[in-house]
């Protein structure tokens, strides 16, 4: 019973971080209709940038969160024109081209990271590492808990931005009907750039927390790429509120499979669930996807 409760808590806490990775990704898909295969690479680059910042300037990794957000926001802003080029213009299948382009980007980022840092595994420690809250028989690791809080905070901020501000409403309108939004005077290209930069910023920022929680290595992107994909499929592609439920479900699934079946069956279990979802309700568990 204690193990069960502990696994439950761990799963929920991890779910918080999965939500952060999934939410930007889902937003990006909703607006641009592009699956960004580089999502895991943004996490990886975020983790490495955080690691470099910490090793050069010292201080606690947590204070670099806003710095990372700015760095990756700018990076996303810089890369977006290329993606826009790939998905527009005189190509006879823009979506296909966009997919392949981000696929190429992810290989490029992974290759670059492997060439620079090799297969070494790095880690970041913060003042929260190793501390934990004890709640009766269960312990809540402070770092995981702060990761969870961070996830919730980012999600709330994004939701507030999307549902309460004028810019956010413009973004949602673009996601709903691109052509209509552009007819009504929205600069679709600028909205896309903003969304992509936001997504890159949030995902890169989550990288440092993920790096502090687990470990940092050049091939870590694959795992988060998989998680982001599963989250959006479960949530329904492009349906943002679904990401919260899907992220928590995936966190729970991961931790329960890890404890009761074995960590190496993780991906198999995740794939089975995704296959089942695609087979039964392809629009996500809430049937709200596009």
């Amino acid at each position: 019973m204690e193990l069960f409760l502990q696994t439950l808590i761990d799963g929920l806490l991890i779910g918080g971080l999965i939500i952060v990775v999934g939410i930007g990704f889902s937003l990006c898909f909703g607006v641009m209709h592009i699956v960004d295969f580089a999502v895991g690479e943004w996490v990886m680059l975020g983790a490495f940038t955080g690691f470099l910042l910490v090793s050069y300037f010292g201080q606690d990794p947590m204070i670099y969160l806003p710095v990372l957000f700015i760095i990756f926001f700018v990076l996303g802003w810089a890369i977006y024109p290329l993606i826009y080029r790939a998905i527009s213009g005189k190509r006879h299948n823009p979506v296909l081209m966009g997919l392949v382009f981000t696929f190429g980007l992810s290989i490029l980022a992974k290759g670059g990271a492997l060439s620079i840092w090799g297969y070494h595994i790095q880690s970041i420690t913060t003042w929260l590492s190793g501390k934990s809250l004890a709640l009766g028989p269960i312990t809540i690791p402070a770092l995981r808990f702060s990761g969870f809080l961070f996830g919730i905070l980012i999600t709330l901020l994004l939701m507030f931005f999307l549902y309460k501000t004028k810019l956010g409403i413009t973004i949602r309108a673009t996601a709903q009907d691109r052509e209509m939004a552009s007819l009504l005077g929205t600069d679709v290209r600028k909205v896309g750039a903003l969304v992509y930069s936001l997504y890159a910023g949030v995902t890169g920022m989550s990288g440092i927390l993920i790096g502090a929680l687990f470990s940092i290595h050049a091939a870590m992107g694959v795992k988060y790429c998989t998680l982001a994909f599963f989250v959006v499929v479960l949530a329904g592609m492009g349906y943002i509120p679904g990401v919260i439920i899907a992220g928590l479900i995936l966190g729970l699934l991961q931790s329960f499979v890890g404890v009761y079946v074995g960590g190496r069956y993780n991906l198999v279990a995740l794939f089975m669930v995704m296959y089942g979802v695609l087979l039964i309700t392809p629009k996500g568990i809430l049937r709200r996807g596009i």
Binding site: N93, L96, V100, I107, L108, S115
Partner: protein, 332 residues
């Protein structure tokens, strides 16, 4: 309208006797090749042939149908492992093992394709990518595959034999594509799906069925090629036959050569594999080639989306029209 105008159709501009003569010459040269080359170059030629087959089988679903499979390497690996298992544990002959490998790969493709091919292409891309990752993990878990240590097949060290086997198989693949996709209603249905899926459905194409068939076909060939590869290198492990890099190579080769064309993947495979081997000879083992692949994919998508074959088929080599053609083909 725009998409229809830019649809790629096979060019029939050059006289046919020239094309058949050229094809005959290439075949003759490739038949005589093992007598003239050193073992290293026979090896490289064999690899080029294998990759040409792999890139073309990816092209069936990615190029002709317009659905991107980012887990195609899994079919190659599955073929390699199943051939190994049938030869080692079941004691079946090599040829039968190859057939079973191909069938198994095609069956897996049908199972993956059944739910995902009725959705948007993005779902398919995600599901195939995840499938590839899952298969690699399964191969490291199972006992019958030898786990992370891999599997040792009975050794048969006969390089020319494998060269001819790959030549035969790749030749068969190209023949199948030519007959089935370039010259039959099946191919036209696939093109219709790629260009405008709703319209294809409207005129009575059973799109889901056609796509599943195409995916099955495009998985059958890598299964067989994987089997031959396993017998050739005799030692396989999850990273060597199921690594993500196999899919990466297929995608870059097909795209660089020109997707949705018969000879594009062949050209792409030749160029990419020769450059890859050159880098390998100069720098040795490393991860630098990943940067080159990634940059190549991005550059091709951005600047020459119709690939090398698109450049060759245009009038780029005639001085008067060259500049106009470059302006048209190289997107800036």
């Amino acid at each position: 309208m725009k998409s229809l105008k830019n649809a790629q159709t096979p060019a029939h501009s050059s006289p046919s006797f020239l094309r058949w003569g050229l094809l005959g010459l290439v075949l003759l040269i490739s038949l005589l090749l093992p007598w003239t080359l050193s073992p290293l170059w026979i090896r490289i030629a064999t690899e080029v042939l294998m990759w040409a087959g792999l890139a073309q089988s990816w092209n069936i679903i990615g190029g002709y149908t317009g659905y991107l499979s980012f887990g195609h390497g899994a079919f190659f690996g599955v073929g390699a492992y199943i051939t190994g298992i049938t030869m080692l544990h079941l004691g079946l002959p090599f040829g039968l093992g190859l057939l079973i490998s191909g069938m198994a790969a095609a069956l897996m493709a049908v199972i993956i394709g059944y739910p995902t091919l009725r959705l948007r292409g993005a779902y398919f891309a995600i599901a195939t990518w995840a499938f590839g990752e899952m298969i690699r993990q399964i191969a490291t878990i199972l006992e019958i595959t030898g786990g992370a240590f891999g599997m040792q097949l009975p050794a048969y060290l006969n390089l020319p034999f494998f060269y001819y086997l790959f030549l035969l198989m790749t030749g068969l693949i190209y023949l199948t594509i030519y007959l089935l996709l370039e010259r039959s209603p099946f191919g036209y249905k696939l093109l219709a799906i790629r260009e405008h899926e709703e319209a294809a459905e409207m005129v009575g194409v059973d799109t889901v069925m056609i796509k599943i068939k195409a995916f099955g076909l495009s998985a059958f060939f890598p299964g067989v090629l994987g089997g031959i590869y396993a017998y050739w290198v005799t030692y396989i492990h999850p990273d060597s036959v199921l690594g993500a890099v196999i899919t990466d190579f297929m995608v870059v080769m097909a795209f660089l050569g020109g997707i949705g064309s018969l000879w594009g993947p062949f050209l792409g495979a030749g160029v990419v594999q020769l450059v890859n081997r050159y880098l390998w000879l100069v720098w040795g083992e490393g991860t630098f080639y990943l940067i080159v692949i990634g940059a190549a994919i991005c550059a091709v998508v951005l600047f020459i989306p119709s690939g090398i074959i698109g450049l060759l088929e245009s009038q780029i080599f005639q001085p008067r029209t060259a500049w106009k053609e470059i302006r048209k083909k190289v997107k800036w």
